[in-house]
């Protein structure tokens, strides 16, 4: 049931972003629709397990607003993202803080819209091609955000609040390039106290990668939560991908770290290595050279990036094949050692983090 509720957008921002038909913006802030959608769901504790293929097929619809979780490439459900590409899901709107992984969706052509916050992968690489993609119209920015403002919007949704007043964004060009943001005076202040009103944000589909979940969807994870606690409460549809599936008993007895409860969850997927090629706290270190090579490919343009996407996403049928391609058992053992040493869980004396960054001279199968 689509709410007939109307929205008041920032007119200056609509002009600056050249958005004429605002209906494409509505669903992200339609909190009444989001509430109805979830009120009507089956809230029972039931076995929600399925494969990643099945979860993507059933829960990702063309045109969905897809939220990126974790931190770009830290506990991000990248394997779910790749399965969406494999299944030809299209016309997606990307949202996330950061949106690092939108880069291949945009290049591939399944993500023509983005709620931008940060493109690129920090020092591993800057997405030069995202810049081209904006100019050639392959992706359109529907709203421009800071991480903090987007985080507040998602948090508002989790809290069931229509919006939150923030002090971020004031005086910047973000508030003139984001249709959802308005500068308003603090209603409690007598006199001048400008704030930015951030409406609650409701993505359609979100995949959150966790360490362990039970079959009902109760999920346990650690490491930076980033926006995942908020997203679990904000998203209309939530799929949990888990390194392992544990019993409900285990979730109850070892409940330290359980941060998502079952009623938010639509499907549970056992997906070891679901965060690859990114980092999974305590489990595996990034495939550093994979990221460096990826961003190098991006800067070579469309053809190079398409070939790379074909090699890594379209020509691998599942995560197991991705693991093999990254180096299989040797890779897994090494990345586990690095992750546990980095977190001071295991001995780090003697663990070598120094490496030769990727260059065209790097041997072809080296990705760690």
């Amino acid at each position: 049931m689509m709410s007939k509720f109307q929205f008041e957008y920032n007119q200056e921002a609509l002009k600056n972003l050249k958005i004429e038909d605002t209906s494409i913006l509505d669903r992200l802030v339609d909190y009444r629709h989001a509430r109805d959608f979830r009120q009507k769901k089956d809230h029972s504790q039931r076995d929600k397990r399925m494969s990643l293929k099945e979860a993507v097929a059933e829960f990702v619809q063309d045109g969905d607003i897809f939220a990126y979780t974790g931190f770009g490439y830290v506990r991000t459900s990248i394997q779910a993202d790749w399965e969406m590409v494999r299944q030809g899901k299209k016309n997606l709107q990307s949202i996330g803080s950061p949106n690092t992984c939108q880069s291949w969706g945009v290049t591939y052509g399944n993500t023509p819209y983005t709620h931008a916050s940060y493109a690129g992968a920090e020092m591993r690489g800057y997405d030069k091609y995202f810049s081209d993609n904006i100019k050639n119209g392959r992706v359109k920015i529907l709203s421009d955000w800071s991480h903090g403002l987007m985080a507040i919007g998602l948090k508002a949704a989790q809290l069931g609040a229509p919006g939150i007043f923030s002090k971020s964004g004031l005086g910047s060009d973000l508030v003139t390039h984001n249709p959802y943001l308005k500068v308003m005076n603090n209603p409690m202040a007598k006199g001048n106290d400008p704030c930015v009103f951030v409406p609650a944000l409701y993505p359609d589909i979100t995949f959150i990668h966790v360490h362990a979940a039970d079959k009902f969807g109760n999920a346990r994870f650690y490491g930076p939560a980033v926006n995942d606690l908020a997203l679990a409460g904000a998203t209309r549809k939530l799929v949990i991908t888990a390194e392992e599936i544990v019993s409900n008993q285990d979730i109850r007895w070892n409940n330290k770290g359980v941060q998502i409860t079952f009623q938010n969850v639509d499907a549970v997927v056992e997906q070891p290595y679901g965060a690859l090629p990114g980092y999974m706290p305590g489990c595996y270190y990034w495939a550093r050279r994979w990221w460096e090579k990826t961003f190098a490919m991006m800067s070579l343009g469309q053809e190079a990036m398409e070939a790379y996407i074909k090699e890594w996403i379209l020509d691998t049928k599942d995560t197991n094949e991705v693991v093999k391609k990254l180096g299989g058992v040797d890779f897994i053992i090494n990345q586990k050692r690095l992750a546990k040493a980095a977190e001071a869980d295991n001995e780090d004396d003697g663990v070598e983090f120094k490496y030769k960054p990727w260059s065209p001279e790097t041997p072809p199968d080296v990705y760690d």
Partner: protein, 262 residues
């Protein structure tokens, strides 16, 4: 015994930036040179500072340099790992002292651009990374320090896009816009250290690095740099000991302190 390499401009910048950090403070750190400076500060004159990172990690024990603000080095045995909204919320509610940011463009009032170069948002000359946490750090921290290389393309009359609010149009503009905190208090570049003239809030030379004259610094700027009264101090250079710490303990792979093309 290997030859001791002379200091390069990035190492100087990292050292000078580290000196902007006062011991016992809570500091908000972004990737790149700010991170190098923060870790150097903690290993030298400011061992009691606390790092805050936007993904939620904070107050980690000593380890490798975090090259990602979401990576394990940011939350290594942290007492508590937070979430993004609360991480920025801390800055807004008075629990963070200083934020450190880079910039693609910086204007005379300390407004920064990391969003785009060009005149047209939907058809930019170059779309950059976007704000990330930059706007929040600039808006919410009590004090802000910028760091970067200096050139007329980076020190601009007016940013093509104001990603992060500094002193806006100068004077009281920042306060009138509703922002709290002191805003930018210093800028550290490859030429020198700048502060902001208290009334106009325009960028002003505080010290210049050895060999850099005021005229040279001005040549490397697209706007007029205010000059202080009297003789301009020369920025202190790092000692050999500090350079050794920087090269071998802080950034041994030279990710951030190796000059491009080196």
């Amino acid at each position: 015994m290997t030859e001791f390499k002379p200091m390069n401009p990035l190492e100087m910048v990292a050292y000078v930036l580290s000196k902007q950090i006062n011991d016992h403070e809570v500091v908000y750190i972004g990737t790149g040179l700010p991170m190098v400076a923060g870790i150097l500060a903690k290993k030298t004159h400011a061992p009691n500072i606390t790092f805050v990172y936007e993904s939620g990690g904070q107050d980690p024990i000593e380890g490798g340099m975090p090259w990602s603000v979401g990576g394990p080095e940011t939350y290594r045995k942290s007492p508590m790992i937070l979430e993004m909204p609360y991480s920025f919320g801390q800055a807004a509610s008075g629990l963070v002292d200083t934020g450190f940011l880079g910039f693609a463009q910086l204007d005379m009032y300390g407004n920064a651009n990391t969003t785009m170069i060009g005149g047209e948002f939907t058809n930019p000359k170059v779309r950059l990374t976007g704000s990330g946490g930059n706007n929040d750090v600039a808006s919410l921290c009590d004090k802000l320090v910028f760091v970067g290389l200096q050139s007329p393309q980076k020190f601009v009359q007016k940013c093509d896009f104001i990603t992060s609010a500094g002193h806006l149009t100068g004077g009281n503009a920042r306060q009138e816009a509703g922002l709290l905190g002191h805003g930018p208090v210093a800028v550290v570049t490859s030429a020198g250290v700048y502060d902001f003239e208290p009334a106009s809030k325009r960028m002003r030379i505080k010290s210049l690095h050895p060999g850099v004259s005021a005229d040279l610094a001005q040549l490397a700027s697209g706007f007029e740099l205010l000059r202080p009264e009297g003789e301009i101090p020369v920025t202190e250079v790092p000692s050999k000991e500090i350079l050794e710490i920087l090269r071998h303990k802080v950034d041994p792979q030279g990710f951030f302190i190796t000059m491009p093309g080196a």
